[in-house]
Symmetry: C2
Subunit: 157 residues, 2 copies
């Protein structure tokens, strides 16, 4: 690859960074607006989803690792959702401190409502998007994330 071609890849990548920042922001804003009628926010929605989709109840630290967020951020969100009666902390037979995060019955109901909102919303956004291009985009982001996290050398928390 020539120097010019190499430079152009770096420039494209810098531009992609800005796209990621802005798309992330739009995604959070749109998500906030979508689930606001349910008394939720994007961040709480994400946590609720992570708990609901987990095959088995997990402690907060595990959820945080799955989501790629700092442990304490998820901890606060979980605490808030417990206060809101959506989640509950179940005793963990394997660890006295690391309680297992579960949905309450209202939590299950809330998750169903979220899903009912989420589906048509995502379907609408996906309309006319090329599946092959989506796959390429996911591949690029994953490759990028892998390199970034390798550079961070497991520093997160």
């Amino acid at each position: 690859m020539s120097e010019n071609e190499h430079a152009s890849v770096s420039l494209s990548l810098s531009a992609l960074f800005l796209d990621i920042f802005r798309t992330n922001g739009s995604l959070v804003a749109a998500g906030d607006q979508l689930v606001a009628p349910l008394g939720l926010t994007s961040a709480r929605w994400q946590v609720l989803g992570a708990v609901a989709m987990a095959p088995v109840p997990q402690p907060v630290a595990h959820i945080a690792r799955d989501m790629g967020l700092a442990r304490q951020g998820v901890q606060r969100l979980v605490n808030d959702l417990v206060d809101a009666g959506v989640l509950t902390l179940q005793d963990n037979p394997h660890h006295r401190r690391a309680k297992l995060v579960c949905l309450t019955p209202p939590g299950h109901k809330l998750f169903s409502s979220v899903h009912a909102l989420q589906r048509p919303w995502v379907d609408g956004l996906a309309q006319d998007l090329d599946p092959a291009k989506l796959a390429v985009a996911a591949e690029v982001l994953q490759a990028l994330r892998q390199r970034l996290e390798a550079g961070l050398e497991e520093d997160r928390d």
Copy 2:
């Protein structure tokens, strides 16, 4: 397109959302680490870059729109950078309140240092990335953002 194919696009899109969240987080974390030696953070770096790259000095509100962020978030960052001596507010002949944001001489020097750090970092990340795939990823993110922002109906401040 069959219903199954449609559903698979929606599923891919939901997965892409998670990729965007995580890549954005990694990007911010890696950026923070990169520019920390210069006493900067990712957010301040972004603002500094926006000011430095603008062909002509602009008021805060304009910069915020360019970056797709809320006006007040950028306002606070600019105020912090002014306090730090990196930026200065120049009188705007066309608008008494909307001062123009400019780099101070130390700000210019700082931006050069940032650029010297940024270039090899981006080059390293771009290594072996397929330019065509990068272009597709950018295209997908831009399409997504456009739909999201259309859904927000220009609500953002």
